[in-house]
Amino acid sequence: MNGYIGIDIGSQNSKGVVIADHSIIAHYTCASGVNHRQTAEKIRAKLLDKTPHIRHIRTAATGCGAKRVAWADDQCSDIQSLARGICFFDNTIRTVVEVGDRFSRVVRLGQGGMVIDFSMNHRCATGAGVFLQVIAKILQLDIGDIGPLSLKSTAAVRFDTGCAVFGETEVITRICEGHRIEDILAGAHHSLAEKIAAMAKGIGLEKKCALAGGGGLNTGLAAAIRKALGIELVIPPRPDIIGALGAAVIAGQKSGHQAKR
């Protein structure tokens, strides 16, 4: 069976996906580390190990470290891979919001995962997943725990600042004022969700809307974005690998085009 590999080297985590016969047959995720070349090699080795019966035809790389994956046959943009990946998951999705470590993006899609419009923030940490990491760190909590904790909030704190660095100070001030951790966390999630919602509304929301990226793993953030957007969100079971999945889809498409020629 013919397989296609997609590799997404992100700023924090790197992901690899193998698709064959229109389904995902293997995936692997690890920290990006400092040597993206090595990371990509490691992902390839793991994927090949997991799929010994597959003939690996073509590889596409995406993400901020895509250029380090020198052996990949294709390089594709983050926007493109996100669009193709979410369309592979559900081809009726028309808007996809992606929250990554260093950025957030909103992409509007047409038929077949074609990109109609997009908007992104990579200038300010308050609009990216790193904002929640900063807050989790100052509260000495694990990033995986803050979402569920934030959902227990009864009176979310309102964040005044528009800066992740000043947000740290604000968290300390709120603790001193006696606010509960859950309420502070809910405030941080709402603050990020509002930034993302403003961006999404800027390019126009169209149903169905999906949430992807590592941020999609955070239940608290998903709830906050849902609330801020005011519409239902579809979340793939592994929202973090959508970019890599999209790259694999693109590798498959390119291979198909070449075969036709």
Partner: protein, 265 residues
């Protein structure tokens, strides 16, 4: 007759005491803690004891800074912009522009005859404030006090592409791993702050004489970076931290004289 100005800043509490002839008797800066009102009293009393004055001998106390409402013994409080203008005007009568970069904010003030014509400030984003330097000092593990002279040895300052403090920190880590020299990195950090602040203050049009105040004015690398960007020299007060408190003391004297005048008539 003596007059006191107290400036309760986010990181430092400053006090300046002057006499009737505008002579500065003492200026003192102490880190601001969580209990503003207690600290204000202590800083005030300490300053008085150094110059052997009793609290009763101070005719008027004017408080300013973001913690100004927490000075229970102050007769009045005023905004730090007004006090800054008064303090800078007393030291540099020809000053037209003030660039003030503190620990948590940055301000630009345009002056005309010692009065505030216009001002602009950023206290929303850490980029372009002293906080940017603090964060990078922590991550580079180089004391802030060394930033100035280290940056002066730079050959080619690195260009920082990220606007955001959090992202700039990661970018600089990458610069280090690429082998960029620490002098060039710190010079790049100073230039990044300068760009932010100068662009902001230029909305009011920067005109000489420019006075550079607050914490970052003590950093020689910052001073050079600003001078390079605006193209002419800036004036630095001997105590760039305490110009606001000095202005408060000067205004305290002015208000007291005015109120006394009214009382007599």
């Amino acid at each position: 007759m003596y007059f006191a100005g107290m400036d309760i800043g986010s990181s430092m509490t400053k006090v300046v005491i002057i006499n009737d002839a505008h002579e500065i008797l003492i200026r003192k800066a102490t880190p601001t803690g969580a209990r503003h009102s207690l600290l204000a009293r202590k800083v005030f009393d300490d300053a008085l004891s150094i110059i052997n004055l009793s609290p009763d001998s101070i005719s008027y106390v004017l408080a300013t800074g973001y913690g100004r409402v927490n000075v229970p013994f102050a007769h009045r409080h005023m905004s730090e912009i007004t006090c800054q203008a008064a303090g800078v005007h007393a030291l540099f009568p020809k000053a037209k522009t003030i660039i003030d970069i503190g620990g948590q904010d940055a301000k630009g003030v345009k002056l005309g005859d010692g009065r505030v014509i216009d001002f602009i400030m950023n206290d929303k984003c850490a980029a372009g404030t002293g906080r940017f330097l603090e964060v990078l000092s922590d991550s580079l593990d180089i004391p802030l006090a060394d930033f100035g002279h280290l940056s002066l040895q730079a050959k080619t300052a690195v260009e920082i592409n990220n606007f955001c403090t959090v992202f700039a920190r990661d970018e600089l880590t990458a610069c280090i791993s690429r082998g960029r020299h620490i002098h060039d990195i710190i010079a790049g950090v100073h230039d990044a702050i300068t760009m932010r602040v100068v662009n902001m203050v230029n909305r009011l049009k920067i005109e000489p004489e420019v006075v550079f105040t607050a914490g970052l004015a003590t950093n020689t690398g910052m001073v050079r970076s600003i001078e390079n960007h605006i193209g002419f020299p800036v004036s630095i007060p001997d105590h760039p931290f305490t110009t606001v408190a000095l202005g408060a003391a000067i205004l305290a004297r002015k208000i007291w004289l005015k109120e006394k005048g009214k009382g007599n008539s």
